[in-house]
Symmetry: C2
């Protein structure tokens, strides 16, 4: 994830949003995270940076950040509404089933497939949502040693 705090903060400002202490805290939390965090988790971790960070603010800030494209919601089969930083452009995620670590895959190779779908169904395709689950290299090793 090639996303550093300053770039993302600027991005927020460029869209006319203030860079407040709570927002800094949320952004720092997300930059430091390697897996999707729920709003409650973001609040808990973010309080390290902004002691009285409220949950309401987390919700509001995530909404803004998602609008601006800094953050991306992740829906997984067994639970919804995690958030991870989004790198610019179209990407997909691979999520480890064991430890929830997320790897982003740049680029999207679904173009041809989507065209065939359009032909077959008569739909105009406007978007898609792909999440891949698996087991990351680390967790595979732990398996071996047990």
């Amino acid at each position: 994830m090639a996303a550093d705090f300053d770039t993302l903060a600027d991005h927020l400002r460029e869209h006319g949003h203030k860079l407040t202490q709570p927002r800094r805290a949320i952004l720092k939390t997300l930059v430091a995270a390697s897996k999707p965090l729920s709003p409650a988790e973001i609040q808990a971790r973010g309080q390290a940076f902004c002691a009285d960070l409220g949950l309401v603010t987390v919700y509001r800030t995530l909404e803004i950040m998602a609008d601006v494209g800094i953050v991306r919601p992740v829906h997984v089969v067994d639970g919804c509404h995690g958030y991870v930083l989004a790198t610019p452009g179209h990407t997909h995620h691979v999520i480890c089933e064991r430890c929830n670590v997320v790897v982003e895959i740049a680029g999207c190779e679904l173009g041809g497939f989507l065209e065939r779908v359009a032909q077959r169904t008569g739909y105009t395709i406007t978007g898609h949502w792909l999440e891949i689950s698996g087991i990351c290299a680390d967790c595979q090793q732990h398996d071996d040693t047990q």
Copy 2:
């Protein structure tokens, strides 16, 4: 969707679940639906078949049906937790943005792509989740006439 009530009902029984009136009602509702329904919608529609169908039962039954593979949860970007009937085997969904009608796509052409992902990331891929959004033929026509 090549899913008729009797086949699905048998499927439930084969997994050791009773076929009760509330469950019949839920199944009929889903068979009749052409778009994902939320638990609350399923309750409302299902009461046509079973007058005092409770919401709690809908939640419990959906969980069972999802386990058994009769039903599939649908997560869309702006809201979660719709449910549609699942046809056996691996399929993906195309959902109309306007009217929420769902078309299933049999077969999955992501094999090659997933292999490349596995190589690039070191993950063992265990599953994936693809939902495609678009505008269905009907809704496109309505657009034209407006």
